[in-house]
């Protein structure tokens, strides 16, 4: 028997990569996910660098250059908008704002969702039932009207939009984390840790959190694009970011109204918006393929 275990260890050694190394190498096989990551990286980098080095800013109108079409020798490669502002710089600012809103709101929703779900799953019993009943009820609350009302009533500021969107989208994450926690709680390795005297908080940080991390990363990645689209929706209703500050949603909805005369005002920001959302969705799918234990 001793020989058997020895041999087992030896032959298992080359396969002893960590979960994360394994996931990463599997992700590298997924060409669409990698391409999405690269495109996303380029957009992020451009949105940081371009407004910084460009001679134009996003707010100063140029009355001599209204609605100039895109050109490579006039200095405005994406053209200018109806106030003569450089569209390239505005689109890059739009990417900054949209990505920031997506990121911050997702962090808010992940933090709430993970805490709520993990608490419900870990404590279990009546507390769990009660907490999940609240989630069930909130699922039926029409949040979009709520956010609209909130924004109208309390004025349009970015922070409110972040918080409102974040507070809306934590329900899915809470449910998933709770389900994972519940199933992990009864796994042998947790039992073993408990039996060997490891305390509750340590179990949570050392065993539960790393095991939940995968699924949380997946959902965070998929929450960002939905938040970006939601911000775009609010901007379309005129409830988003305030002028002259801009976001991809603002640019797209402004462009949509002038589609017939100046189509580039719609298409350029729409391409960036769709690319960001597209890449994040594909990245999330790719991550799910490699990180979700169910998909193996």
């Amino acid at each position: 028997m001793a020989a058997a275990t020895d041999a087992l260890n030896i032959s298992a050694a080359p396969a002893g990569r960590s979960l994360w190394q394994d996931a990463f190498s599997r992700l590298l096989y997924n060409r669409t996910a990698i391409a999405s990551g690269v495109v996303l990286g380029v957009i992020v980098l451009a949105s940081i660098v371009v407004p910084w080095i460009s001679p134009y800013n996003y707010y100063t109108p140029q009355w001599a250059l209204l609605n100039a079409p895109p050109t490579f020798h006039g200095g405005h490669i994406f053209g200018t908008d109806d106030l003569g502002r450089d569209l390239l710089v505005r689109v890059m600012w739009g990417c900054r704002v949209s990505l920031l809103i997506g990121l911050v709101a997702s962090i808010v929703s992940v933090v709430i969702g993970v805490l709520w779900g993990a608490a419900a799953g870990f404590v279990g019993g009546r507390v769990d039932a009660f907490m999940m009943r609240i989630v069930d009820i909130l699922y039926s609350v029409p949040f979009i009207p709520f956010v609209i009302v909130l924004v109208v009533m309390f004025g349009r500021n970015l922070l409110l939009i972040f918080v409102a969107i974040g507070a809306v989208s934590w329900l899915d994450i809470a449910r998933i984390v709770r389900g994972q926690t519940l199933s992990l709680r009864n796994k042998e390795f947790i039992e073993a840790a408990r039996a060997s005297g490891v305390r509750g908080p340590t179990i949570v940080t050392r065993h539960l959190v790393p095991n939940l991390l995968g699924i949380v990363i997946i959902y965070a990645t998929l929450t960002v694009p939905s938040v970006i689209l939601f911000e775009a929706f609010l901007s379309f209703l005129g409830l988003g970011v305030q002028a002259p500050m801009t976001s991809l949603g603002v640019l797209v909805s402004d462009g949509a109204s002038e589609l017939q005369s100046f189509p580039y005002l719609l298409f350029i920001p729409a391409v960036f918006l769709a690319s960001i959302v597209y890449c994040l969705n594909y990245l999330g799918d790719g991550l799910r393929d490699v990180l979700d234990p169910k998909e193996r």
Binding site: M1, A3, A4, A7, L8, S11, A12
Partner: protein, 332 residues
């Protein structure tokens, strides 16, 4: 007409194209099955037993490529069109799978699933099919068959579901029943019942049975001939007596040593097989069992031993010619 064996495979190989490379699950296997006999195929999980049988019926995954030849009553199966295969599946060759919890469709009633093969193959009407199904349920000793017909799989116990699965495989009276680990997922007491049911069926219908298992105890109960598979190859074949009392392959010996024997007054020491089954992506260049083999010779690491006849109907694929049983202490 009766010359052609019921089922015959020659140099049958199954390769899976995976991201990491090509995996050879089954490697140039020859197989013969005569009418009415029971052939057991043993091996650890992952040794290619199931894939070999599924490949003959065109039921392997889409990323698999099957080469060689597999003939049912002289008719080539590997090149047969899907339509012809569908005719043979269920009516010429019936299959029973390992886990009755998952192999019955949870959304369809027992009656529908049971009558389906008769309806598809024989084109009989609903009432006649139902009558046959009830007959078949009785044959597999299911009580209140009329009521069971209306029930759904989740309403039956595991043993009962496996009986239903067997009834389903046999309802068109196929000449061959392939039972893929039919008892593995069941309780020990239920296992015995299912085995005795299979024996009964063999006698009642004269069905030839291919029994896939990793449990030598099951073979002792039911087999006529045994094929031992390791890493996609047949390493020893012979009668049940050959395999149990005169085995010539170290792997077969190791398998036998790993089952407890309660019949002996002082049982031999129980030994686990050391090491792990080989990674199918990186098979050793020589004999696949060599890394775990206590009798290994130098040649074993270099070339693959061919399947050689030991005595009529008994063959082994091993270079070691000395007596087995001497290395027990080595591996323990």
């Amino acid at each position: 007409m009766t010359d052609a064996p019921l089922l015959q495979a020659r140099k049958l190989s199954v390769d899976f194209a995976t991201r990491e490379g090509i995996v050879r699950a089954v490697s140039e296997v020859d197989l013969d099955l005569a009418a009415g006999e029971t052939l057991a195929i043993v091996g650890e999980s992952g040794s290619g037993k199931s894939q070999m049988l599924l490949s003959m019926l065109g039921l392997v995954a889409r990323n698999a490529s099957v080469t060689g030849s597999a003939k049912f009553k002289g008719e080539e199966l590997l090149t047969a069109p899907e339509k012809r295969l569908n005719e043979i599946r269920g009516s010429g060759i019936g299959l029973v799978f390992q886990d009755p919890m998952t192999s019955l469709n949870p959304y369809l009633s027992i009656g529908l699933q049971l009558t389906e093969p008769v309806r598809v193959h024989k084109g009989v009407d609903r009432a006649a099919a139902a009558a046959q199904a009830i007959e078949m349920l009785k044959a597999v000793h299911i009580t209140e068959p009329e009521r069971r017909m209306r029930q759904y799989p989740h309403e039956l116990s595991g043993g009962m579901r496996q009986r239903v699965a067997i009834a389903m495989a046999l309802i068109c009276r196929p000449e061959i029943l392939i039972a893929d680990e039919p008892t593995t997922a069941l309780d020990v007491t239920v296992q015995a019942q299912v085995l005795s049911l299979l024996r009964e069926i063999r006698e009642q219908f004269g069905t030839a049975i291919i029994l896939v298992t990793h449990d030598l105890g099951v073979i002792a109960e039911l087999g006529d001939r045994v094929n031992v598979m390791y890493a996609g190859k047949i390493v020893e074949r012979g009668s049940v007596d050959d395999i149990f009392y005169n085995c010539r392959h170290p792997y077969t010996e190791a398998l036998e040593r790993s089952i407890p024997q309660f019949t002996k007054v002082r049982p031999a020491r129980l030994t686990a097989i050391s090491g792990n089954p080989p990674n199918p992506l990186h098979l050793p260049p020589g004999c696949a069992f060599a890394p775990r083999c206590p009798y290994r010779l130098d040649i074993c690491d270099k070339s693959v031993p061919p399947l050689e006849t030991v005595s009529p109907n008994h063959a082994k694929a091993c270079f070691y010619e000395g007596p087995l049983g001497t290395a027990a202490e080595l591996s323990a």
